[in-house]
Symmetry: D2
Subunit: 476 residues, 4 copies
């Protein structure tokens, strides 16, 4: 497949289209409120379309065509997207614009807090969720009254191109969304020229930081995560926990922003069969059904090199994996490696000269495993504190005092807690996003949409009357 990318000479129409949208947006509570209902209708219709087996299957296979994931994982995107659209059917879009009011100081005065659009906005989304991330952010932007220009990673933008057509079919006005295929440099130029009031970026921390500077902070970010899981002192349901660990680390070949990058095991778990179960589960994965597949952002060499550096840390060892995939036609620009786990002792991990290496995110089927004793919990908490991004996390324990110790001393934006805790699998029904950063975005829920795609506007009515005996007071 080929994608026609717009280059820097072609951005003018996009700049102009965006500039035509005023800062008060395409709609707001005082302008064209019938558009809230329009988007309720579009959502209900599009949700119904995605609920039809042949449409769902079409998009699932289309995702698989461009992103290396199993049918089930690809279908997951379609399903979450459908449920999201159901959530904003009927009047639910206008309910997002719910305001509040408070009595004023005197008769005729009331203050009201509204959710106001930004007007012209931009959305940039990555390769790993070709449907779910762009649809959820795009619709959120539209619901609140913004006009977005959308750029999806060109490798996978075909999916969203098709979805946009479906949305048009369901009633989306064609002039409401601009869709661009381009490289990052061109998009950067477009942003600088069109000057959108808000840009949502999902992707790497490196690009995120550059955009933050270029756009002087007018951004919301969902960037990388070196996501952690802690197994607490209470060992139970080993099969279940092992299966969740395997999925968290290796589903989609570890290329979810929420993928488990490091596993802290309480020593009680080390004594269990967990690691051997993890190994068995990892070895079930195979290229044929894409339960393991190509890594798009690291080559095989790069991953192996990183692995070898880790293995030089005293006490570290290969738990399983660590080998190239065989019998495949994956191009060498991509990575192709078996699901891999490296053990590193927790006290080594924390050393200044090891920490950055051990906590480097490898966006692939690769995790670090370590072990801690009861006395070493403060070391573990210290390791969490020193990380740079705080997306997902899991505390696998039903021990309430253990849970509150870890939860109270960590900050990850989406943290699962309890025996069935996972790091991946975020649906549309709860918030997903980083915490601890004022630039942090969220995705999916009403709260996320309101935070990312609207701002507070206070309108204070002060209608009078002026009190009868009022006279001009002295100046102050």
């Amino acid at each position: 497949m080929k994608v026609a990318e717009v280059d820097e000479t072609g951005i003018q129409p996009f700049v102009e289209s965006l500039s035509r949208c005023p800062k008060h947006g395409l709609h707001n509570p005082f302008k064209d409120p019938e558009r809230y209902l329009l988007f309720g209708d579009i959502s209900a219709k599009a949700a119904h379309m995605l609920s039809l087996p042949k449409v769902a299957d079409f998009f699932t296979r289309l995702i698989q065509r461009v992103a290396p994931k199993s049918y089930q994982q690809a279908f997951g995107e379609v399903y979450v997207t459908q449920k999201f659209l159901e959530n904003f059917s009927g009047d639910q879009v206008r309910f997002l614009a719910r305001s509040f009011g408070v009595p004023g100081n005197h008769l005729g005065q009331q203050s009201h807090g509204f959710r106001w659009p930004y007007g012209p906005v931009a959305i940039i989304t990555p390769f790993n969720f070709p449907l779910e991330i762009p649809v959820l952010q795009l619709m959120g932007a539209l619901y609140m009254g913004n006009k977005p220009v959308l750029k999806v990673d060109s490798k996978v933008s075909l999916v969203m191109e098709q979805m946009t057509r479906l949305l048009h079919y369901c009633g989306l006005p064609v002039e409401d969304v601009d869709f661009i295929n381009s490289d990052g440099k061109t998009m950067n130029k477009l942003l600088l020229e069109a000057n959108p009031r808000m840009t949502l970026f999902t992707g790497s921390s490196r690009v995120a930081d550059k955009l933050a500077v270029d756009l002087k902070g007018r951004i919301k970010l969902e960037d990388a995560g070196f996501d952690w899981k802690i197994l607490g002192p209470d060992v139970q349901e080993e099969d279940y926990v092992a299966w969740v660990c395997d999925q968290d680390a290796y589903a989609c070949s570890g290329q979810k922003c929420s993928a488990q990058s490091i596993l802290f095991m309480h020593e009680n778990w080390s004594k269990s069969s967990l690691i051997s179960k993890l190994k068995d589960l990892a070895e079930r994965r195979k290229l044929e059904d894409l339960t393991i597949g190509p890594v798009l952002t690291f080559t095989t060499e790069a991953i192996l090199e990183h692995m070898n550096k880790l293995l030089q840390i005293p006490g570290s060892k290969l738990l399983f994996g660590g080998e190239r995939l065989k019998n495949h036609s994956i191009p060498p620009v991509y990575g192709a490696i078996k699901p891999t786990a490296i053990y590193v002792p927790v006290e080594e991990l924390l050393k200044d000269n090891n920490y950055d290496l051990v906590t480097k995110e490898i966006f692939g089927p690769f995790q670090v495993v370590t072990e801690y004793s009861k006395e070493q919990l403060p070391l573990v908490l210290d390791a969490l504190e020193r990380m740079h991004t705080h997306l997902t996390a899991a505390v696998v324990s039903n021990d309430l005092h253990f849970l509150q110790e870890v939860l109270g001393k960590s900050v990850n934006g989406t943290t699962y807690a309890g025996l069935r805790a996972r790091t991946t699998g975020a649906p549309q029904n709860h918030w997903f996003g980083p915490a601890g950063d004022p630039r942090g975005a969220g995705i999916g829920t009403p709260e996320a949409i309101k935070l990312v795609w609207s701002c507070h506007r206070e309108i204070i009515y002060d209608f009078g009357p002026v009190p009868r005996q009022w006279e001009i007071p002295p100046s102050t």
Copy 2:
């Protein structure tokens, strides 16, 4: 009075103190929750102290000592601060940390959204509100569990130094807040070294943009505003409207971020006695009681030069003022000018070569006045759209269709609407802050505190049990 400023060699203790606060803050719902109650107590006590006449008078006069405003205006700060503290007495601080929960997909699962602190944070506030702005932002930061370093403009930081002592007396632990006097360059260095998770800046747009870049967008801003007022077609209560206009433009010598910088009059008002009333009111102001006083950021020469440039626009004219203050000892580094209004025709204002000049904010007793006919309303709306910052605004009219036209096509964060609309005088009971910018801060209300001083953290409990017949499913 002299202020001992810390220079670049002295920042290390501040960097270290800030670094000692972890990202999960001094308290959160899972850590030291009794601190929420502590701050409820501190607030109740401090509010009571400020309600005592001698304490209120002390702070009022202290403000007057350093900031050029009348007793009434200075007392306004003390009063708003007291009411703010009352608002967060008792359990109201913990109510700020209110979370929400939603049933999950299966037994034992529930998702919860929390407001989480940032941990180490910084607050930078300007000269014009020496008490109100720093107290409201400082307490908001503390309430949510952050540890702030506070820098108030050194010219006025004495007020906050005294207030901090009062807070200590009311129970604030001394290690909870670091207070620094320094110049901007030193503070910039401190920020880069200490790397606070969030910085609240109130001040000029120029510094705001620099900070946004330096801190890679980890900021909330309340910057300048070229605040506008529109008088609608329905002329009524001329005395009242004239008085509000005078206060909005000239109280505190125009040195409020919410001061009226431009007045759009419907032609029906031009036919009224409004302008002559404005002139009379402006001329009441006198240096003795500080109803007019020094301008801290523009010299007299600079203001007069700006005025003369405006007067070169065809059709423009001086309505009143435009002269130096007499018989004063204001140092020449400050400005000293009578309350001034310049008329500029609306069609000239919109011309590309005039627009930037006319809409340049003069932080002093200086406003532009213009006039529009019914047909020219779109020009007025266009003028609003082209402005760069969107803080306060007022639409003086009880004509509902006129109001909804202007409200629906503008974005100012704090917009007053109705016959009694003003641009200044924001209290603690409603939101005050800019809109249309994802970096925008708010001040005072529960919503503002939550937005500026906390982020969303989602914790999903998933305690199980694992279903009885559960078996390991295939990998995906």
Copy 3:
């Protein structure tokens, strides 16, 4: 058509079925939470079914078969029902069960407020909205976890019988709802024996008060309304206002609980062509298309007798109507009368011996019209205050001071205000229900569902730990 009604000997299975549901309901946040998702699915599917033209047409005609209303009015019920179901698609049912949490006094303590079901409940709905009222209340009850027994007026219960089958088709478990056809006496017996925890009654005030006593107040009521409309001093858009008045008074032959029963005209309106326009519009109505039709609860004689009593009041007069319908086959147990308006002077209306007569609700195409001068507004407000039920109302004016005077001195639960104000036509997107009565129910919105179908339950987690040095304190 015939309906098989259950008599008193047949209620035992209903009593037993209801008793099997525990007080904690069929689901709650700690029990079978997957049922929240089930109802999201049922709602999405049923909404889609009702959006299909042939299904919508089927129900529209079915409604017309049993209730005397035009196609458009009957279709209105289907449309509102569809939109309501869309509103609770996907995750929106579980979002209704949203709880909140607040930090406690010490580590390990948090208090949470939940919405809890009542368990076994009853729903009794009237003849005039055979689909909309029962579906909205039934689904609300189910969403929150209750098990309802539903009784619709037997004259029209066929509609709901068919709708229940559609809901079963869309996934509703058959054991979740009991559907009964019976007379009121039998239903009363069932309620006393089965003792539902909550009963929602929509219908006459007389029955409502009896039920309130029989069930010792364990009820929510939506009873009759003598709904009023006030035309303010600002006369404009006469055609529009006249059309709304005609629809409010005479659509569905005045048999909506929200129908306009009395019209207070400012004298400025009396001088306009309003009354003659109302007359013309009333005379357009015809039996063929059911824009006028049978009255189910008053005979023609009873209405005419009431009219004649009114006409004996000094100064009163017939404005239009007041005659029997001709050429019809409406059975004499029903009423058949032309749209009628009677003028009564406002000062007569308020006299003690007239007030009860004039404000007697005639559930048919019948309204009282009166007129007031500026000075007489207090009389009008006094008339409103003395009414017994406070369902809908309208204040037709864009004069803000007039609006706030009337709104601030009245209590109707659903009050429309502004030039386009109406009394009828309540949709699913805003609250509909009486105010001023703690027994008052609401219908349709998330707020209404939560109020009527759930109660507050506070669960305070207090997990500890117990402080280390804790020792047993003295008794208190």
Copy 4:
């Protein structure tokens, strides 16, 4: 001390005073909104007064003068009242009147949901909390705009009489509250004649049910509770749990509505030293410091008779207590008995002929204790389900699956869960009230105030404009 009670001939002034208050209340968002601020001021001032040691001591001793409780318990009332008043200082009263708005169907339409007062209301409170219950309910009623008549049990009304004077001193207008001393019969007559729109009753179930009928359900109730505690399978912190059990059962001589009436122990606890610890703690209580004291609603004979009936149940036995207090001057109309616990086997408890006897509430220092095995948990849950009132409860366990089983299958309105769970000691910061009953009231929190003292009113603005090409459509 003597109390002058109003008899039936004296109620007319109260009836008239109440009738003068209109249904729209003394204030609402459109009427006298400055009263919201007035009550914020009154609350701040009264909270400060109660924080003064001499004032707190005065009220503590005054409570002790009339109600049999220890200094600590009496002071608890004063403290909770003070904190409640702090919570509604400043702007927090107007924040209770917060409304919400939603965009409408077309330009100029917005729907708003308000909290509306009832106007004239009544409050009836019992002897056991002479200060806390009446102040919290009275202020809640006032905050929302109602005019209450307040009747406190004459035995203790002196406390509230003094508190009312304090409130007057802090700014409460004297005409805002009517205070009556009378017997129940007179109050009943007053209610029937004055016809308050809402009556809050706190007291016995018997009176509650009578009032519900007399007032046709226009009531909110906080009635008796046969409050239970379950000790789960995880035995830990025995001293702590024993101490909490002792306080829950016997503090205030068991005369809290939240007092522990029955204790279900898991068999693991029976094997512990719990019962012997309970016995020791009970025996510490002594008349001198009122840690045990007179029972106001049962005579000694009545309690002993009830005890003897319980002891006739096979397998039941006296655990401790069961004797008269000695060396006292408590009048024989009151009860005087040592803290008592009776063991009844769980399978006997559930038998139809025992259940009502065992679960009869004795409002005194008296509890039933029983034991269950893991397999008997369903019996325990069945016992809970069959109770009639559902006020407080406690599940003492940190076993998450156990907790969710019990929480999901019970309904008590205020349920504590976890190792430190209690049944008594409800503060002002979380909801306290029964669940499972649509008549149920709550006390203290913003949610409780809004539920009990206001109703929903929806105002839909529909200002237009009417669309330009609009023409009168056909009738429907």
